[in-house]
């Protein structure tokens, strides 16, 4: 492994052009992740056609680096503006944004930098050592029933922590699942709910919906505060967390690495569920559950460690099985195909150079988060000083372009603004936007894997539940739902409002 890693490193840094591609990926991912309104996906969508001019290893490496640094970069906007750069940064905003409002932005961003780097590095190391055996294990033990069970568990966790009440948390996730049913059904390809728009046959694209629900709705919330005279600019602060503050959360970091890696390794799941599960587990194990959502450093640490821990793990199903774990890894499949390659087990034998250049690049990209991220953070915090009447149109414009570029459809820009209005109204009524987005992302994956699982076991539930991992996850999900239902009905956990 060490020899291969050194070979990968030598290939990566032995060619000036490859170094240039690496540096561009690192800076581009961080920058696009940290600009409110666009994300690493916007950059990746723009760059996709240009990768045809690169070699296969440069192209895949570029996207892998953008994935690592962009996942971190998205935390910045989540913390500073309550606008997650990507869905995997949504739980970061739960506590990161309240910290900004309390004048603790520097601490939140500092923790995000460090934990993203730790999570990413740990994940990269495990990925290098264990891709092949883990892929073998996944092939043997993880099938559609297990993936459906994990989706169910993830949605149960998201609905149990999001929204003003448990009911609103569930309704948020269910709305996401309803939106995910728009477009062709994943089994028979039958058009559903396209209401006469042919462009809707492909479904609601994630990027416009996510931009609308997160970025546009947040702009509307701030605008409304301005109208109502309650708007206050975020407090500027560059104090980083101390070593002792971070050391106090070492168990949260280790737990989130495991959670993130486990979620990342499962095909189709990706870093989003990892971040939610990392956050959910932090809440579950905490003695002061009520502090979450009010600016608790552990919330930022858990979410950011888990989502970056998933980046390395997400490469395992992609490289070993050819199954992408999210939007960006799906674009990586396109990069492979542009160069007449197919990701899968054979890529380890046919293109070992490519694999190790990518592994080395991801390791160094995570390392660079630590160094460049700290420098960048000090600079990026000055965004808080920009007047919002300048920042708001800028964010709306960037979001419009980000929504349009993915598929080149004006409909996607309209969808984004409609999602923004819906998000604004739903947030006002106490619904959870991250819950909606998670439902939207996991809806189709859940349906597809449920259908495949049912076909596998010939609709026999006894056979379905004879699979131990599947059963454990389903039981865990049901218990999570029951516990939150118990809290809603019996436990004295209400706070008066209004």
């Amino acid at each position: 492994m060490i020899e291969n890693f050194l070979t990968g490193t030598a290939t990566l840094f032995g060619d000036p052009f490859t170094i240039g591609v690496f540096v561009f990926g690192v800076l581009g991912g961080m920058l696009f992740g940290a600009i409110p309104g666009v994300s690493m996906l916007t950059l990746a969508a723009i760059l996709l056609p240009f990768t045809a001019d690169l070699t296969a290893s440069q192209g895949v490496m570029l996207f892998a680096v953008i994935y690592c640094t962009g996942t971190y970069g998205g935390a910045i906007t989540a913390i500073l503006f309550n606008i997650p750069g990507a869905p995997e940064n949504a739980p970061t905003a739960f506590d990161g944004y309240p910290m900004t409002r309390k004048g603790l932005a520097g601490k939140a961003v500092g923790a995000a930098v460090l934990c993203s780097a730790i999570g990413g590095l740990a994940s990269a190391l495990v990925m290098m050592g264990a891709t092949e055996p883990l892929a073998q294990w996944a092939i043997m033990n993880i099938g559609p029933p297990e993936i459906f069970a994990l989706v169910f568990f993830g949605l149960a966790v998201a609905s149990s922590v999001g929204g003003r009440t448990i009911w609103k948390g569930w309704l948020s996730v269910l709305l996401g699942l309803i939106i995910a049913t728009i477009g062709q059904d994943p089994v028979g390809g039958i058009n559903r709910y396209n209401f006469g728009f042919t462009d809707l046959a492909a479904g609601i694209a994630f990027v416009p919906a996510i931009l609308g629900f997160f970025a546009v709705s947040e702009i509307f919330v701030q605008a409304e505060k301005r109208v109502g005279g309650t708007y206050s600019a975020p407090v500027f602060n560059v104090d980083f967390p101390s070593f002792y503050e971070l050391w106090a959360h070492k168990f949260a970091v280790v737990r989130s690495i495991f959670v993130g890696f486990f979620c990342g390794i499962l095909p189709g799941i990706g870093a989003t569920l990892a971040a939610f599960m990392g956050y959910g587990e932090a809440v579950r194990w905490s003695k002061n559950k009520e502090d979450f959502g009010n600016g608790k450093l552990e919330g930022v640490i858990s979410s950011e460690t888990a989502n970056n821990a998933a980046t390395g793990a997400a490469m395992i199903p992609l490289l070993a099985l050819g199954l992408p774990g999210g939007a960006l890894t799906a674009m990586m499949v396109a990069v492979f195909q542009m160069h007449d390659l197919e990701p899968g087990p054979l890529v380890f034998y046919n293109s070992p150079d490519l694999i190790w250049v990518v592994f080395a690049a991801m390791f160094y990209a995570n390392l660079s988060i630590l160094f460049i991220g700290l420098i960048e953070t000090k600079t990026i915090l000055y965004l808080l000083k920009i007047p919002f009447q300048f920042l708001a149109p800028m964010i709306l414009m960037l979001a419009s372009i980000g929504a349009y570029i993915g598929r080149g459809l004006v409909l996607d820009v309209i969808v984004m603004f409609v999602a923004g209005i819906a998000g604004f109204l739903l947030r006002r009524s106490g619904y959870s936007i991250p819950g909606i987005v998670l439902g939207l992302i996991l809806g189709k994956i859940g349906e597809q894997n449920f259908a495949q699982g049912m076909q596998m076991v010939h609709y026999d539930l006894v056979t379905y539940f004879s699979r131990p991992i599947c059963t454990i996850l389903i039981i865990a999900g049901v218990l999570t739902l029951l516990k939150s239902l118990y809290s809603a009905f019996y436990a004295q956990t209400f706070k008066s409002q209004g």
């Binding site: 009440t165 089994v187 959502g293 919002f388 009447q389 709306l396 372009i401 923004g420 209400f494």
Partner: protein, 185 residues
């Protein structure tokens, strides 16, 4: 009488209407799939059923306990942070802020990005309460210039050009100027 508010009634009506409408529309694609017993409608209908049940649960809680929030929950706007409107003009102002971007989005196809964007940027600033003409002008130019620099020149991203004259012609001339500029360097 229960402890619920009128907004709770609106919410339950909304969710039930959504579930009923989507259920009714599901008959349009209620075709059997040979390889899958539950067909294309099985999954959506289960979700719609759950939505209706949870919506009733949501209303039941509001009816019994009124405006309460569970402790330790995240991801939603706190009711304490919500803006309380004092006049009808504030409603109008917020309504305009919500509708304006939608008008921009709808105008993108006929008018195109290059022609509609500067007006939209300026209008957003006005809608945000900015009244200094020089601030609006300079910042519109800065934002528009930055967007063109990043997406048109650096990243060469394809943006909507519009399909109605003279907007299409203006967009085409901007793109021609960009090409000529590229040839110079």
């Amino acid at each position: 009488m229960g402890n619920h508010r009128s907004s709770d009634v609106i919410e339950v009506v909304f969710w039930l209407a959504l579930a009923i409408i989507f259920f009714a529309v599901s008959f349009e694609f209620n075709q059997p799939i040979e390889i899958y017993k539950f067909g294309a409608t099985g999954w959506p209908r289960v979700i719609l059923f759950l939505t209706a049940v949870v919506a009733i649960g949501n209303f039941y809680q509001a009816y019994k306990k009124g405006a309460v929030a569970h402790k330790g929950r995240v991801g939603a706007l706190d009711e304490a942070d919500a803006v309380h409107y004092k006049s009808f003009s504030q409603y109008l102002q917020t309504g305009w802020l919500l509708i304006l971007p939608l008008i921009y989005a709808i105008s993108l196809k006929p008018v195109g990005f290059y022609c509609s964007t500067p007006f939209f940027i300026a209008l957003i600033m006005v809608a945000w309460g900015e009244r200094r003409a020089s601030f609006i002008l300079y910042n519109t130019l800065i934002i528009y210039g930055l967007l063109l620099l990043l997406f048109m020149i650096v990243l060469n991203a394809p943006l909507p050009q519009g399909n109605v004259s003279p907007f299409y012609d203006v967009s085409a001339s901007i793109l021609r100027a960009k090409t000529q500029l590229g040839q110079l360097f």
